[in-house]
Structures are given as structure tokens and as C-alpha cells.
Symmetry: C2
Subunit: 357 residues, 2 copies
């Protein structure tokens, strides 16, 4: 019986709708297992800019630092996407949060619930049994290097950077995880062209010496983008840089049937942040159709990783599984065989999950 303080940071778009459901699941777990969870809320992204002018107000950051864990939604707004010259952007809030909280390791487990085999565009016989754990480096690379314009604004530049230390610490996390799984690690880089990738590969090779029990392979990012679709089962743990991880994990969402199913954990020096990998999805915002299962599964990761509540975490995952087994779907994970009556909105499918906890 533990007492924990959880910060809810819905952010933009469907972030609001899905984290509301994630929070209900945490509540139900607290009630069932006799924990005391207290909550607060904080602003980030477009909604924070509207309210305060800042994509991540100091107050939000303070609250994050003082929480035991953060349940996060999404950031982003089409307004800024269509204006490449905007100076203040929602995503700056997300990046600042990652940097300030030292969230250098982003874990993205890709696992297909058997019931969703049909929902993917990939053939079931290729997918069945696929189970990948991505470690995406989250506080370095081209995301955080110097960037700007020169030649009167006619040339733009971005600097990608990695230090040995940065690669080493994410490598160790990935190798440690591989030990608890199928003992395979694939490191993804572009060492045939990029210097940061060559440093990356050197460091992985060196850390690998400490893990003789782990089978290590190095793949180029282009080949990996192909192999993930051709043969997803060949991967166990995948570790890669920030930008490559961004691209490859979105791609890999198709292995899990839908982006709407994928949770992630961002961990590092302090408070852990848990969020769906889907974005703000303004096209479906406010319609009540967003899939909250990724937020619910993010809550499960939160319970497991930040609170060490393995049984509680499993209870959430089992409940999601049961809802799927019962045949209930949100629109994004329905297929041609799903009866219309089984297609639920955000809140309704959330209620089903609660019933099974």
C-alpha cells in the first residue's frame, strides 16, 4: 500500500481525451490495490502557449519535478505546422521537458495483442509473435544541437551531436533489458555516412564486451526500416539515436496493429514520463473516437517502471486484453469483420477496461 503523487499532463488535441481515461484506470488500480494516488494537472504545448505564452511554463516543470510520475498526452497543433517561421512552438515544450527532466531513455515496447492480428496492414503470418522493445535515445542528436540560419536566412543548418557518455548510458539500459528478454540487441545507425553514428557504433561495440551473453548486431537505419516490415520477428531489443528512433518506432506501430495501441516510457535521472506514441491528432480531436488504449497501457508502464507495481501493471494489460478478446474495438483497430455495434468511442472502451480490472 503506497502513496504516490501523479501529474496528469494532457497537452494538446486528443491528449485531453485519452489521458482522462488513463487517469481513471490509475484510480481504479489504487482503489483495488489499496494505494493512495493523488493527482495534479499541468499545461504543456499549444494549450500552454495560449494560456501563458510558454510551451512549458516553469510551474509545469516544477510540478513534474515534484511528482512521482507523469502521465502525458501529446503536443502539437496544425497552426504551427503550417507556419515554418513560427518562433514559439508546442514541440519546444516537449523537448524542454525531456531535457530538463533528463529523460534520456525512451522505451517503446512493440507487441501485438493476438486479437489485433487482422488490424495490421502486414500479413498475420509475418507478425505473429513479434515482440520488440525499442530504446530510443531522447535528449541528444539533431533534436538538441545548435540550429539556425545563415546567408541572410537562405541556408538552414542543424547540428547532430553525441558524446560517448550519452551513448553509453542508453546502451547499458538496452543491454540490461536484453538480458531479461531473448538476449538479442540490434543497434541501428548510419555509420557508413554519419560521424555521430560511427561514435555510436564504437561505444556499442565497447559496451557489448561487458555483455558477452547478449548477441549483438549492427544495422543501418535504411536496412532496418525495410527489415522491420519484412521480418519483424528477427528483432528483440533495438537501440538507436533520437531521430532514427522517432522514425522507426512510428513505422513499427504498424506491427502492433495501430499507433493507437502504443505506449512509451521516458526515463532517466528523475521523474519518469509515460505517454502514447500517437500525437495530438487534431483531425479527430473532440469527436470522442480517439483510442485511449495507448494511454491506458502508458499507465501500465508507469505502474511497473516508476512504482515497481508489477501486479497492478499486469492487471491493466490483462484488462485491455480481455476487452479485445470480448471483441470491442475503437475505430482505428476495427477491421472488416468487426460488427458496428462493437466499435466503441474513447470513454466507452475505457469503461470496458475498468470493468475487467
Amino acid at each position: 500500500m503506497a502513496s504516490k503523487h501523479i501529474l496528469i499532463v494532457p497537452g494538446d488535441g486528443i491528449g485531453q481525451e485519452v489521458t482522462a481515461v488513463g487517469k481513471k484506470v490509475l484510480d481504479k488500480i489504487a482503489a483495488k490495490y489499496g494505494h493512495t494516488f493523488t493527482y495534479d494537472e499541468a499545461l504543456i504545448g499549444h494549450v500552454a502557449i495560449e494560456a501563458t505564452g510558454q510551451p512549458l511554463p516553469d510551474e509545469s516543470l516544477e510540478k513534474m519535478r515534484n511528482s512521482d510520475a507523469v502521465l502525458f498526452g501529446a503536443v502539437g497543433h496544425p497552426k504551427y505546422d503550417n507556419d515554418p517561421t513560427a518562433k514559439v512552438r508546442p514541440e519546444q515544450g516537449l523537448l524542454k521537458m525531456r531535457k530538463e527532466l533528463g529523460l534520456y531513455a525512451n522505451l517503446r515496447p512493440i507487441k501485438l495483442f493476438d486479437e489485433l492480428l487482422g488490424a495490421s496492414s502486414i500479413k498475420p503470418e509475418i507478425l505473429k509473435g513479434a515482440d520488440i522493445l525499442f530504446f530510443r535515445e531522447l535528449t541528444g542528436d539533431i533534436y538538441f544541437g545548435e540550429k539556425g540560419r545563415k546567408n541572410n536566412g537562405d541556408t538552414a543548418f542543424d547540428i547532430a551531436e553525441y558524446s560517448r557518455y550519452e551513448v553509453e548510458r542508453i546502451a547499458r539500459k538496452a543491454f540490461d533489458a536484453a538480458r531479461t528478454r531473448r538476449k538479442k540487441l540490434c543497434s541501428v545507425d548510419k555509420a557508413n555516412v554519419i560521424e555521430t553514428s560511427r561514435l555510436w557504433r564504437e561505444v556499442i561495440q565497447k559496451v557489448a564486451l561487458e555483455y558477452p551473453d547478449i548477441e549483438v548486431e549492427h544495422q543501418f537505419v535504411d536496412a532496418t526500416a525495410m527489415l522491420l516490415i519484412k521480418d519483424p520477428r528477427r528483432f528483440d531489443v533495438v537501440v538507436t539515436a533520437n531521430l532514427f528512433g522517432d522514425i522507426l518506432t512510428d513505422e513499427a506501430s504498424q506491427i502492433a496493429g495501430s499507433m493507437g495501441m502504443l505506449a512509451s516510457a521516458s526515463i532517466g535521472d528523475g521523474t519518469g514520463v509515460y505517454e502514447p506514441i500517437h500525437g495530438s491528432a487534431h483531425d479527430i480531436t473532440g469527436k470522442g473516437v480517439a483510442n485511449p488504449l495507448a494511454s491506458i497501457l502508458s499507465a501500465a508502464l508507469l505502474l511497473d517502471i516508476s512504482f515497481g507495481m508489477k501486479a497492478e501493471s499486469d492487471a491493466v494489460i490483462q484488462a485491455v486484453d480481455k476487452v479485445l478478446k470480448a471483441g470491442f474495438r475503437t475505430r482505428d483497430i476495427a477491421d472488416a469483420t468487426t460488427p458496428a455495434a462493437n466499435i466503441f468511442g474513447t470513454e466507452a472502451i475505457g469503461e470496458e477496461v475498468l470493468k475487467y480490472i
Copy 2:
């Protein structure tokens, strides 16, 4: 009846085997249509390093400049991949060739031959009718910016750079192509994070004003990596930066059934270079099993784009189609229903293609 001088640059690994077949196809076309094609050969990559110490000897570059077109194989060797500290690398030859010949536009058509619907890991009903033309920028971005080490080698950096001019010229090529197709253009960037992407998006928006008949959309690279698998038919022409194009086109090879089917054209200021998008594939080198159809289809692109020989080019594509219709396959594009007797090696399937020209 034309006279043309073609340079064959096989490069490394299976490059040797597949360009030999591509050349035979060019020969057959010359004989059938009464053209005179003369040939020379040049070294690049690992084989060039072994012979001369240079990944792209001056002599090779001179020969490229003095040819009407180049049929290219692949570069790369595991020796360098496993040694991130190697100073001279096969890929440097490829990059230097692209830069020196001003090959700023890399065209990668992704189209599934109907007969290969079963060979992909993606469901046939998702794939059927997919037809994408990628324009990958090929002489800028993080590939060509300054790169190096600092802090006693403990930090590595790479600079990504784009000028307006560089984006504009590839944009125009892509918009022009969209006009001859389904009039849709998707520009891919990461403008929510990266400054070069913001410049990219600005320029695309500006050039779009000159093409009011083209429907333009902007997508983030992570979302695109997902959408390519989820719904490949939504794309017509895709234009993107060098690194994103590298990743996305390899991924998109799965839409075409196999990497072994994909040809590319690199064009710009001078001689055009035509090459399969598969790499050197040392694991199957010398075994006689490499799929030469990408090299053959590269020869078809060469005929069309560099020589303006549309009928000849179509004859090659038709011949490939007929071989597939006849049920013949190389190993990589065979599926469970292919009888063993129909699985051919590199030369044998090449001979079949020749028969149909």
C-alpha cells in the same frame, strides 16, 4: 538509331553480378532497335580502394563525365562497417560521385508488379495499385555537411544543411513529375523540430504557388514511415531530403515486394547514374542468386531518362513483366506457392528477360 557511350560501374559485392545482366539487356536493346551502344568500365568503392587506394579514382570520375550514362551496381563492404574508425570507406566514392556529377535528384519509382502481390509482407489488398514516385534530394543534408570529433574525440558531430536553392531545384523536378501523374505531391520533413526542415517546408510552400494544379500535403517523416505501410496508395509523388529519402525508400521497397525489384535514377547537371537501390549484399555475393531485375529496370530508366528512348525502355519493363507472368522468380521474390523449378539464379532469369525483348 543513336550512338551512345555507356559506362558500367559494378562496384562491390553483387554489384558485379547484377550489372553484368543489366548490360546484356542494353546490348539486346541496341541490337533490336539498331542503336550503337559502346561501353567502358570503371572502379568505385571497395574494389577501387583495393586497386588504387581511392574509393573513387580520378580516372573513374573522368570516364563518368565523358559517358552518356552510367549503369551502376553498389558499394560497401563489411570490413569497413565493422570498423567505425576506418578513414577511407567505399561509401565515400559513392558520395563523391553524386556530388561531383551534381546528381541532386534521386528518383525511386515504387510500383508493384501484379504478379508479386504475394511476395510482400504487406497484405495484397493494401498494396494493390500502389504507385509512388520518390524524389530524394541527393547532394545535400547531413550527408555532405561538416562532420568530425571534438573533446578529444569523445563527442562526434554532423552538420545538416540546406539552402533554398537546393530545395527549390528538387522541388521543381518533383512538382513537374506530379503533373504527368496523379497530380499529388507529399513533401516529407520534420519541421516541428529541425531548422533545415522548416526551410524545406517554406520553399515547398513557395514553389507550390507555381503549381496550383497540384494537390500538396506536408507530412512529418515519422508519420510518413507509418503511413507508407498503413496506406501506401495515398501517395503519388513524394519529395524529401537526403537522409529521410534514404530511410523511406528502403522501407517502401516492401511495397514493391522486394528490394531486389527497385531501380533508381540519379540525375542533375550532367551524366545520369542508374542503379538498383539494394546494396552490395556480401552475404549472397558470388552465389549466383542475386536478383538482377533491379539492375535491368535501372537500365530501363537509363534508356528512358538519359536517352529519351521510351519505346525501348517500355520493352524492357514489358519483358520483366512477362518473365514474372511466366512464373519465374529469383529466390527473394519467390513465395510459398512458387515451384522450386521456377526459382532461377541471376544469369538464368536474365536470359529469360532477354528472350522477351
